[in-house]
Amino acid sequence: MSQSLLEEVKNRDQVFSFLRPAEQPALNVDKQILLYLEGLSVSFDGFQAINDLNLYVRDGELRCIIGPNGAGKTTMMDIITGKTRPDSGSAWFGQTINLLDLDEPAIAQAGIGRKFQKPTVFEFLSVWENLELSMPSPRAVFSVLRAKLDGEQRDRIEEVLTLIALQEQRESRAGSLSHGQKQWLEIGMLLMQQPRLLLVDEPVAGMTHQEMDRTAELLISLAGRHSVVVVEHDMDFVRQLAGRDRTVTVLHQGSVLAEGSMEQVQNDRRVIEVYLGE
Amino acid sequence: MKQMKRKLVTASCTLALSIAAITAQAADTIKVGVLHSLSGTMAISETTLKDTMLMLIEEQNKKGGLLGMQLEAVVVDPASDWPLFAERARELLERDKVAAIFGAWTSVSRKSVLPVVEELNGLLFYPVQYEGEESSRNVFYTGAAPNQQAIPAVDYLMNELGIERWVLAGTDYVYPRTTNRILEAYLKSHGVAEEDILINYTPFGHSDWQTIVSDIRSFGSAGKKTAVVSTINGDANVPFYRELGAQGVSAEDIPVIAFSVGEEELSGIDAAPLVGHLAAWNYFMSVDTEENDAFIDQWHAFIGNTDRVTNDPMEAHYIGFNMWVEAVNKAGTTDPSAVQEAIIGVTVPNLTGGYAAMMPNHHITKPVLIGEIQADGQFETVWRTPSTVVGDAWSDFLEGSKDIISDWRKPLECGNYNVVTKTCSGQTF
């Protein structure tokens, strides 16, 4: 390490690497695969949360992931978004971006958005401000200090407000919204971010049936332009989302147990065993 | 919102008015400021001195007051916060118009007050031993200067106990640093070799003395008679002495002589393992004189507890207060300038059977007593200087100050007059 640094200092024909701004390669999805997770393993205090996990998500795909408690669903999301470092394995975003080299903000800026299991919005800010902060714009401290909204951005916020049906509450504090509204606001924030990949963790927890239907519609409509990975417990909802031909992945004990259409998965003997044995 | 505004306005008005009200008070009493911390870390030492001052003032009033007027004590609490000392001193002088301030403990509090009393021409009587190197027109140092405590103590150890090897252990602040520098120079001038002096500094409130006491033990096992000169301050003393006791360092093997451990500090320590260790002061409660007996009785009656002890800084306040009273009587006024002039040369009895005189350098004459700790937390005097010693503001053993003298009499009127360059520096007025 210090040796190579020394070499570098002697080599004065180029800018030192530590002075060069960290450039991110552009996203490349030539092979139609947006997310590669290969051989991932991670353990906490001897508990193997993820065990040799392999998962590929196609560009524009809507993928549902199910699995019993402790199957490693949230941990997987943590790895993708940079919150948890895997002990081994690799995670690539497209062919060029190595997710394991990046931290959370960089991953977010590369185009991965995440919705938490528990709705996490900025409670003390208004709905409008929540969306404003989610907007893709320069994130450097001084740019943020001087940032002003232009007309186009306002329109974009209005548009999302309409989509998540919170026009009335735009000035309300996010903390005063109902649970379902918070879920929607968080989805709205994701949309503002315009990510290439959306990770959605149990989006319908605490929603009424109507809200669930709307959420399903919304998520389905997003697929195509964005890739969407949904982790969900509610089988009805998954059925609704997956329809007949979308892929469903079943996680168990930190690795993929089965993958296929909803029908295939439901009839898989091992899956039944895992779910019934629970 | 309006409420808040009103509140702020009221607050500032009360502040302004309360100040105005107090200045308007009639001057039928003479006010005496008492500036000792009653809360915070210094309260442990200073509360007693506040009570001493109240007792002395009460006693004076019983005798008919001063210049036909009653004395009134104005007690404020600088809360062991150094900037607050200055603020409180200013308040006493500007707002309460006190005739004199008795107070402060530790040099930093005195240094904080100093510019204020100089600016407003007040009088400050400082009752605690200190490192010297200061002489202000407005301050009277009734505690010991290093030559009234440290040097006689070392003389005693050297001549009477035949000490050849020295550990100078102190808390890391100016008093120990200066005292130890003076002592180092003094010891070397008496032929003590460099390797026979070990100097060690510890932080305030140091509580783990194992290593240092062990070092002292091994330093003392080199075959030469060894002593520890301790300028360890306040709270750190208890764990230090406890560790000495625990590691079996007895006074017969390695005596420890302390300059900041008095009767009051000992009352918080189990003194039994410390019998024979020494302290150098200008007063001990055990001194057998009539004045002292009367003082102790008076103190016990005032405080309502016969278990309370008296100590050296209390005697310093006793002397300082009596000197001030004498000087005011002599001058016929409490005007600070007149008192400053009148007080030089004033002589009052001390509690150890002699007299204390205010010298032109604003320090007083004191006898130096060496006492050994007894199991009951008292000191037994084992040696005393044959006559009183004049406090020396500027040490003869420090490079920077040996050419400086202090004399506040006319025509010199200078606290730091350099006899070589013939200049009076550091006097802004």
């Binding site: - | 890391d172 290593t211 080199a222 709270d235 393992p273």
Partner: protein, 540 residues
């Protein structure tokens, strides 16, 4: 006892000579000597007392040892009115005063009438030396060792003669070794080369500091190159061993400092680590424990040894109750707002401090060390550990494992862990989380009180006691990893030892600063301490 003195006196050439000198006053009765001694002892001049002590020894007075002991314990007083000596245990009005000569008891009317017969260090040494001469034959080994050491302080021919005689009949190894060293020191200065060679080997095999000093002096003075080389080799050997034992001592010091840190921090590890409550009043709970010790000692002044043992459960209960009061009165309204508990408990700490100032005065209180905790455990002349430190290390480990047992093996422990991991779930399972909070906080506070008992044996018992330990305690808990009391143990011991290892070369202040800087940097590297909780629970 007396017969032993006489036996020894008869054997002793020294005092035979003295007796011969005083043959002229042989006729004097013991009482006359006593009268003479009394007159000398009440004199204000120190040299008179020296004469008195000598006089007692010369006259081989039957009460000499008794008077010596009274002088050493400073129980001898004189009345200023009649200049008689009295034996007084406690100078208060109404207490008995036993006249030394007449053995009559009177009551003290004014305590100022009685003055102590104070002796100085030189006289104390003088007395101990006289007593040491009899001590060489004392039945207790420790006394014999002390006697030899006392005599070694000034090895004159008389002392050597005594040691030589005692050496013949001495059977205990340690005393023999010490005597051998004393004799070898003398032999080293003799002219006999073979004897000197033996002496060097004896001294080289001993760690006695006086022996080392003798060797150093010998090397400086001698002109015999072969013996000089031998002595130098012996010195190298000694110094090597001394260094080793110094290292051992430093480690012990570190462990002992560490155990103090652990004791102070472990209660915090429970309240802060397990419950997530930042209790700034923790230091004051320690202080309350220390004051409890003081109060207990006041209540049972004649059983100091027992009082410390009684103080442990008492302090646990008192601090625990105060802790429960704090929990019920303040903290329970602030769960889930850790930073605000910090502010509120800081307020509590100020109130407690000032309360102690009002109740006990701002002065430090004196807590006595019981007999069984004082003194040292000697392994060899350069390595000894103090009993109080040793007990505190053991005590710390005991408290630690007891707590571990409570947390791992009892129903309360199970419930505590359940609540700390998932409050809502534990509630749903029927755990009364309020009660568990209260008990846990009481437990943590009680342990703080126990720490106060230990600290009362080492440091000031005063209103500032708590503040001195609160920051250190937090550092230990954070360094060890919140929620893990093993972490606290390891962290406390590590910091203690690190501090002590650095102290010799960096000084106490810099060592402490370095430790703090180290903790700051360490937290950057491992934001959750040495033993972090991992997994989902930690994110909560």
């Amino acid at each position: 006892m007396t017969s032993r003195i006489i036996r020894w006196l008869l054997a002793s050439g020294v005092l035979l000579a003295c007796l011969a000198v005083s043959a002229g006053i042989q006729a004097q009765t013991d009482d006359q000597v006593l009268l003479e001694v009394q007159a000398l002892l009440v004199s204000p001049n120190a040299p008179d007392k020296t004469v008195a002590i000598e006089r007692l020894a010369q006259a081989d007075h039957p009460r000499a040892l008794e008077i010596y002991a009274l002088l050493l314990d400073s129980k001898l007083y004189f009345n200023r009115a009649d200049d008689f000596l009295y034996v007084i245990d406690n100078v208060v009005e109404g207490a008995p005063a036993l006249a030394l000569l007449s053995q009559e008891t009177s009551l003290i009317e004014r305590r100022r009438d009685y003055r102590r017969v104070a002796i100085n260090n030189a006289q104390r040494t003088q007395i101990r030396r006289v007593m040491a001469q009899t001590g060489l034959n004392h039945e207790r080994m420790e006394v014999r060792v002390g006697a030899v050491q006392q005599l070694m302080g000034d090895l004159d021919q008389d002392a050597l003669t005594l040691i030589r005689e005692a050496y013949v009949s001495e059977t205990h190894g340690r005393v023999r070794d010490l005597m051998a060293v004393a004799l070898a020191i003398d032999t080293l200065t003799s002219g006999d080369e073979a004897a000197q060679r033996d002496a060097i080997s004896v001294l080289g095999g001993s760690l006695e500091p006086r022996g080392r000093v003798a060797l150093v002096r010998y090397v400086e003075a001698t002109d015999q190159p072969r013996l000089k080389t031998l002595a130098e080799q012996a010195l190298v050997g000694i110094d090597q061993q001394v260094r080793f034992y110094k290292g051992l001592e430093t480690v012990f010091f570190g462990l002992s400092m560490g155990s103090v840190l652990v004791l102070a921090a472990i209660g915090l590890a429970i309240t802060f680590g397990v419950m997530g409550v930042i209790n700034m009043a923790h230091g004051e709970l320690i202080m309350i424990g220390a004051y409890t010790t003081f109060v207990i000692q006041q209540l049972m002044p004649n059983h100091i040894g027992l009082s410390v043992l009684v103080a442990v459960p008492a302090a646990f209960i008192v601090s625990g109750l105060v802790g429960i009061a704090i929990e019920r009165g303040v903290i329970r309204f602030l769960y889930g707002r850790p930073l605000e508990t910090l502010l509120a408990t800081f307020g509590v700490s100020l109130v407690l401090q000032q309360a102690v100032r009002s109740i006990f005065s701002p002065l430090n209180r004196s807590v006595q060390t019981p007999e069984w905790m004082s003194g040292m455990l000697h392994f060899n002349p350069v390595f000894a550990v103090t009993w109080n430190r040793l007990y505190i290390i053991l005590f710390c480990l005991m408290v630690f494992f007891l707590l571990l047992l409570i947390l791992k093996r009892t129903a309360l422990g199970l419930q505590v862990r359940a609540v700390s991991q998932n409050r809502a779930m534990a509630r749903a399972m029927g755990v009364r989380s309020e009660r568990v909070d209260m008990m846990t906080f009481g437990l943590g506070s009680g342990v703080a009180g126990i720490a106060g008992v230990a600290l009362s044996q080492l440091t000031n018992v005063g209103p500032n006691l708590g503040q001195a330990y609160i920051i250190d305690s937090f550092m230990v808990v954070v360094f060890g990893g919140v929620g893990n009391i093993w972490g606290t143990l390891v962290a406390g011991m590590t910091l203690g030892v690190a501090n002590k290892l650095m102290e010799p070369w960096a000084g106490a202040v810099l060592a402490k600063i370095l430790v703090l800087v180290f903790i700051i940097l360490f937290i950057q590297k491992r934001p959750r301490g040495l033993f972090p909780q991992r997994g989902r629970a930690a994110e909560g």
